[in-house]
């Protein structure tokens, strides 16, 4: 009996070892429970669809072997201290190929230094706060193993201001929450107003606190000052309180702001008062390209939902995996440092659901964070809330994406 147990154990050991050597070990981290869970879980689920597709096709050919992805999931609960612990744990693994994830900028700030120390390749998605990348340029690090696949706040603020100008508004009110995220978003928007030629007059600039429900005072100030649009930076529930407050006092002006306006807790809590709200998006849950159609259908089927909780996060998680896989293939290795070098110089374009990525990253230059940022202005579109869904805000964006997809096909 004893002998048998031992053999079974030994056999188990051998198989797991063999398995570990034949697989690409990748970690997915993010908040899978709690307030940021719609983003974290969608990102994870999108990434897992990509991994399932790759594994189903037999994996990636590294050397003579076909290697499959092996996933480690870690829930950081959107807490900075949890995130730091997870980063420490993952960074201590010698055979980890890389990390994908993180929703909260604070968690990036708390944890990413551990990856950087050990040179572990990480693709941040969908955390958008500028600080998660600028922390490295400010510290002037020479070599960086952290990349990002998310439309950072700089792009978003530029788009918000641009949208207000395009819609021929001249007077806008600014509203922002009193957290770091809200205040830095306000600063980005103010800077963009100047940059884009001072065409907008900011008639009021007011803040609100997390948990505030009565926004009458701030909104009345905006209304009395003749604001034609409200530019806003905040998070779900308070944004909904603003939308509901605007309907109450009869301030008929669109809300334009950061991508958090696409969070389900904004859309659900504002109901029809949220209609017409505009925000930058990297992916719209509309099957306009064959790739998008297949992805949306796969997501709905795999997780039995009719609406992806956060389509942006899901699509970015999906594309991050394909970009990572392309780097593994090019590096012909599961060594995280070699993957990093490959990521900085991807030879072949990567077909993603958001776009076809051509050289998303280049070698890190501390004077320019964009070297490790995948997104440029042209990959981001304006989304609009309509009856519980986010649709294209401008038809031009929609047509552009369709034609991009067909032109890529044509080249093939």
């Amino acid at each position: 009996m004893k002998k048998r147990v031992l053999t079974v154990l030994l056999a188990g050991l051998i198989t797991t070892q063999a398995y570990a050597a034949d697989s690409i070990k990748i970690a997915i981290t993010g908040p899978f429970s709690g307030g940021s869970a719609p983003m974290g879980a969608s990102m994870r689920d999108g990434a897992k669809i990509a991994i399932a597709e790759i594994n189903a096709a037999g994996g990636i050919k590294v050397g003579a072997k076909m290697m499959k992805f092996e996933v480690l999931e870690r829930d950081d609960e959107a807490k900075n201290e949890r995130g730091a612990l997870i980063a420490q744990e993952l960074a201590s693994m010698s055979d980890l190929a890389g990390v994908i994830g993180t929703v909260n900028t604070g968690v990036c700030l708390a944890g990413d230094k551990h990856y950087q120390e050990k040179g572990i390749t990480k693709i941040i998605t969908p955390a958008a706060g500028s600080a998660s990348m600028t922390q490295w340029s400010k510290a002037k690090v020479k070599d960086l193993s952290i990349f990002r696949l998310a439309a950072h706040d700089g792009i978003q603020a530029a788009m918000v201001v641009e949208e207000a100008i395009n819609r021929k508004f001249t007077k806008v009110a600014m509203l922002y929450d009193s957290t770091n995220y809200g205040v830095s978003g306000r600063d980005d928007m103010v800077e963009q107003v100047k940059k884009q030629g001072n065409k907008l007059q900011v008639v009021t600039s007011d803040k609100f606190n997390i948990g505030d429900k009565d926004m009458t005072a701030q909104l009345l100030r905006a209304k009395n000052a003749g604001a034609q649009a409200v530019l806003i930076w905040g998070i779900g529930p308070e944004l909904a309180a603003v939308a509901n407050g605007m309907a109450k006092i009869g301030l008929k002006a669109p809300l334009i702001g950061g991508w958090t306006l696409s969070m389900s807790n904004f859309i659900d809590n504002s109901g029809k008062n949220g209609n017409g709200t505009l925000m930058p998006q990297t992916f719209i849950e509309e099957p306009i390209t064959p790739k998008a159609k297949a992805f949306i259908a796969a997501y709905h089927k795999a997780y039995n939902v009719k609406r992806i909780p956060s389509p942006v996060s899901a699509a970015q998680g999906y594309d991050a995996v394909f970009i990572f896989a392309a780097a593994v293939k090019q590096a012909q290795s599961t060594d995280t440092k070699k993957i990093k070098l490959a990521l900085e110089d991807l030879k072949e374009p990567v077909q993603g659901v958001i776009t076809t990525w051509k050289k998303p990253f280049t070698a890190w230059n501390p004077a320019n964070e964009e070297t490790h940022e995948a997104f440029r202005r042209e990959q981001v579109v304006m989304g609009m809330v309509q009856d519980g869904h986010v649709i294209f805000g401008n038809d031009a964006d929609r047509k552009r994406l369709i034609s991009n997809a067909t032109s890529v096909k044509g080249k093939k």
Binding site: D214, Q218, L220, G250, N269
Partner: protein, 291 residues
């Protein structure tokens, strides 16, 4: 401009009435037992979640209300039995920590059962604003105001007109004398905690459609309510309404004229002034200590 001022006062006063209702819950238990449920905000939140769950099972709104209120009463009684009774019997201040702990426990329970998301609370009461002389107000807001005033009037009438209510008043006035007259102080305190739970549940049901339901929905609310209770004095039910209305409007006006960053300031100034000048509260009775 005039309209703006009235609009601000109306919107602020409405939030003020909600502060008053939560403060009234403090006041009910303080009157009989000189103890306060520091987890009152969590009772509001838990009752809101239970009511939301009842609504989601398909129960119509008007049947859900008694269910939610019943839960509030039971939760209030539970707090009294688990956290307050023993401490009071031993004349210790243990109830302070116990009620805080029960409140924290309530938050954890809610996070585990319902998750940490803020959810909308469906209501059949229309949310389309109607205009009164240029001031917009929604029927939902009117329902909150009516509900708050109604429940307080009913409880005050109950205290003044019924035998049980008179026992309540007697224990409030002098616990020992009331016991000598054959009134059970323990039962009266139970009653006060039950009523306080009822008030919390009603607050939860009334404000949820406006504030949404989430585990931390009441944490900001309860601090304001505490200021209201202290400024008004823990003796007066009428006082909390006046102070609540005043504080709510003041917040809204400050936020408009001084700046949104100063919104919380008047409440704090008021609290400091009250504690420095009239520690028993504006409507509180002066304490006479017999030596």
């Amino acid at each position: 401009m005039d309209h703006a001022v009235i609009q601000l006062i109306v919107s602020g006063a409405l939030m003020g009435l909600v502060y008053a209702l939560v403060a009234y819950g403090f006041q009910l238990t303080y009157a009989t037992s000189k103890s306060i449920n520091f987890g009152q905000g969590e009772l509001v939140m838990l009752s809101a979640f239970v009511s939301l769950t009842l609504t989601n099972t398909g129960l119509p709104y008007y049947l859900m209300i008694p269910g939610g209120l019943l839960f509030g009463v039971i939760a209030g009684l539970f707090v009294e039995r688990a956290g307050v009774r023993l401490a009071l019997e031993q004349k210790s201040e243990g109830w302070i920590l116990m009620t805080i702990i029960l409140g924290l426990f309530g938050i954890s329970a809610a996070e585990n059962i319902w998750g940490r998301d803020d959810r909308p609370f469906p209501t059949p009461i229309p949310t389309e604003p109607i205009q009164f002389f240029g001031v917009s107000i929604t029927p939902l807001e009117i329902s909150v105001a009516v509900g708050v005033v109604l429940i307080m009037v009913v409880i005050e009438l109950f205290k003044r007109k019924t035998l049980l209510g008179k026992a309540f008043e007697a224990v409030s006035a002098d616990r020992d004398a009331a016991e000598l007259m054959g009134i059970s102080a323990t039962r009266t305190i139970m009653l006060s905690y039950g009523l306080s739970g009822l008030v919390a549940a009603l607050a939860g049901i009334l404000v949820s459609p406006i504030t949404t339901v989430g585990p931390t929905m009441a944490s900001a609310l309860v601090l304001k309510a505490f200021s209201v209770a202290v400024v008004a004095g823990l003796e007066s039910g009428f006082g909390v309404v006046i102070v609540g209305l005043f504080l709510g409007s003041l917040e809204s006006l400050t936020s408009f004229y001084v700046g949104s960053g100063w919104r919380e300031a008047p409440g704090l100034v008021l609290l400091i002034l009250a504690l420095a000048i009239r520690p028993t509260g504006i409507f509180g009775k002066a304490v006479i200590r017999k030596v």
